[in-house]
Amino acid sequence: MGSDLLSTQLSNLTTIAYFSAMVMYIAFIATKSNKVALVATFSALAGFLIQTGAIGMRWYESYALLGSEHGRAPMTNMYESVVFFAWCIVGLYLAMEWKYKYRAVGAFVMPVAVWAMLWGQMSLNKSIDPLVPALQSNWLTYHVITCFIGYAGFAIAFGVSIMFLIKIGSEERHMKEHGNTPMGGVLGMLPPTRVLDDYNYKAIMIGFPMLTLGIITGAAWAFYAWGTYWSWDPKETWSLIVWFIYAAFLHARFTRGWAGRKAAWLSILGFAATMFCYLGVNLYLSGLHSYGGV
């Protein structure tokens, strides 16, 4: 169901574009060719534009299929959220690439987007269903958008942290043996760890306020839907756990100068908690909590 929609076909094209971008970013690290990097950026951008069209199309299709009263923004089920997640990651990544010009980072960020697209396209239900009463709220849209931009920031920080940890050992050895000379080899193509560390921080500086907004819009929605802005249900609690971890990251950073390895590990831990909050809670915990209300 849903696979015959135009939006679904556009999403398939998107997946292909993101996949090629990922391959080209990896190839860029291996070849150091700026032409390859340009192709990578171009593929990612093309995929992003196609996906923007796909999301708009799916929005339109919801009106066509469900009638003008029941159409809704395409952010209401697992499939829609996971492709939206990919869209946020690539969008934010491209913005950061444009601003900071480090293309090698794409090799570690695009895989997350490709995974999200593949999972969504291959194994989730793509049908466009009308919304049950609990989801009929504009807060849903604000909530999803803000949370996923936050998650995207954390995904980028995660990719960068992995790069950092891959590089740091050999960079330190190189510094010890050869002093401050450029590093050769494939690892030499990764940006210097000092830059990666800063990038990690910058991505979290974007992700954290967005997650804050996501939690607040969720609380507002819960208040307007059932009268409690906070009820410690597993999803809420996990989002708070994620928030605490990144708050710890930021404080360790501004005031104690925690940078480098510890920061990278904390960022990876934060992303693991993020993914548990997004997916794990639905898969492992939801049945346990009987929730008052609708």
Partner: protein
């Protein structure tokens, strides 16, 4: 060491402990880890549920450790309290240092600032001192901020700053967290969470607290005129739950609203949310009974499980009904009672397939015409006088980090002196965050300042 010194030492150490950022980080991580417990162990379930799931001895352990209401447990609340104390102490400790930037801005740079700054410009001019000072002042005023002039030891100093308020972003963030917690406490102390079920046509003047322990009186009466549940066509997927509510004050209708999920009714600080529904009393079933010998058909309308007299001493009871039986639509189950009192076998009759029962060929055949099920509407009721405080805190929590992360306090100092041969102008600047961005902006600004000092328009330079 004297006694008082020792005491002071201890208080200092305690104070330092509460102010320390290490404590903050440990608390943040500790709160993360402990919060997981309540997401894995169901909260506020019944004792039997815990025993069934985890066994008796684990249940006793959970009770001892307060895991069954973890987020309200003494130790978790204490952890949150410590977190607030840490936040407040730390802010108190650091505020004077921040306030100094407001109260006593450094208007005259030290010679170290002048020589060690990363962002630096040195130019000289043959024009007069006064002219140069005025040009620099105007240039900074147009392109950066108004300057403050200090004349000291034969030199003229200019100082300009922007974004000093960004130094308060962290405080605003930290205060916002306290504000949110205060709002939550106000809500808990002065508000309530309750529910009430109102049958269609009925009204209530009390609600029941959510844990079932208290009946809470309202200052008014709430009536439910009607409850509707609608499904999307040809599915069992609910489309709408709605209740028509009326508020009566001293018996007079004062407010009316049709509430739906996500669109509650607000009245005198109390909010009514559409939350659930259910049958209120028995449904009334309408059906035809046809005497298969005479061919005579009569229509009946009777509540469920009520005995209905047919002709010749026969009677019928509808024992059950559903609005959708295995996707065949509405159906009812009934059995006929003979004049002798024998209960015949139960029969199922589908509303959409009346011919099935004709084919059965009993004494009577039945056709279902419809049913009317009265409902009650289930409402969550909340009063939360702290919620606006919480929202105010939330807004601060959005703005505060934004200011703290993305804005910076930028300062520029100028030293202008006559070294005998020419007028020497030194400009330095710094920003307390985002130095890289400031460095670029500084270079731009310096081109303008240089052009101004040389009395040329910057556009001419190309």
């Amino acid at each position: 060491m004297t006694e008082t010194q020792k005491k002071q030492d201890v208080t200092d150490r305690i104070w330092d402990f509460f102010c320390s950022l290490k404590l903050t980080i440990i608390l943040l991580l500790l709160l993360s880890v402990t919060s997981i417990i309540g997401t894995v162990i169901p909260q506020n379930a019944s004792a039997s549920e815990y025993i069934r799931r985890y066994g008796q001895s684990n249940y006793e352990l959970f009770v001892k450790l307060q895991f069954t209401d973890m987020y309200g447990s003494t130790w978790f609340v204490a952890l949150l309290g410590l977190f607030c104390v840490n936040l407040i102490c730390c802010s108190i400790k650091h505020f004077p240092r921040t306030w100094k930037f407001f109260r006593e801005p450094v208007k005259v740079p030290t010679s170290a600032t002048l020589s060690n700054s990363k962002n630096k410009l040195e130019i000289s001019s043959k024009d007069s001192m006064d002219e140069v000072v005025e040009r620099v002042q105007n240039s900074l005023k147009n392109d950066f901020a108004k300057t403050v002039r200090t004349d000291a030891d034969g030199k003229t100093y200019l100082f300009a700053q922007k974004g000093i308020y960004s130094r308060l972003g962290a405080y605003m963030t930290h205060i916002s967290i306290i504000v949110i917690l205060i709002g939550a406490i106000i809500g808990n102390v002065f508000g309530f969470k309750a529910y009430v079920n109102i049958p269609e046509g009925g009204s209530v003047t009390h609600v029941t607290s959510r844990d079932g322990s208290q009946r809470i009186p309202l200052d008014f009466e709430v009536r439910c005129d009607n409850f509707d549940v609608e499904f999307y066509p040809d599915t069992r997927r609910p489309m709408l739950y709605a209740s028509d509510l009326v508020i009566l004050k001293d018996g007079v209708e004062t407010y009316k609203k049709r509430i739906t999920v996500n669109d509650p009714l607000f009245y005198e600080g109390i909010i009514f949310y559409q939350s659930s529904y259910g049958p209120a009393g028995d449904a009334t079933i309408t059906f035809n009974a046809t005497d298969n010998q005479s061919g005579e058909t009569l229509e009946f309308s009777a509540p469920l499980r009520n005995r209905v007299q047919l002709a010749d001493g026969y009677s019928v009871i509808v024992t059950d009904f559903t609005d959708n039986d295995r996707n065949f639509g509405p159906a009812m189950r009934l059995h006929v009672i003979t004049p002798e009192g024998t209960h015949q076998n139960p029969v199922v009759v589908w509303q959409n397939f009346p011919e099935f029962d004709v084919r059965r060929g009993g004494q009577y055949s039945f056709a279902m015409l419809g049913f009317n099920q009265p409902y009650f509407t289930g409402l969550q009721v909340a009063k939360d006088p702290g919620v606006n405080v919480v929202w105010a805190g939330c807004i601060m929590l959005i703005i505060g980090p934004f200011i703290a992360f993305f804005m910076s306090h930028k300062r520029i100092w100028v030293c202008i002196e006559n070294n005998g041969k020419a007028i020497k102008v030194q400009v330095v600047g710094n920003a307390h965050r985002n130095q890289a961005g400031f460095a670029l902006a500084f270079d731009d600004l310096m081109q303008k300042v240089e052009a101004a000092v040389n009395n040329e328009s910057p556009t001419k330079e190309g």
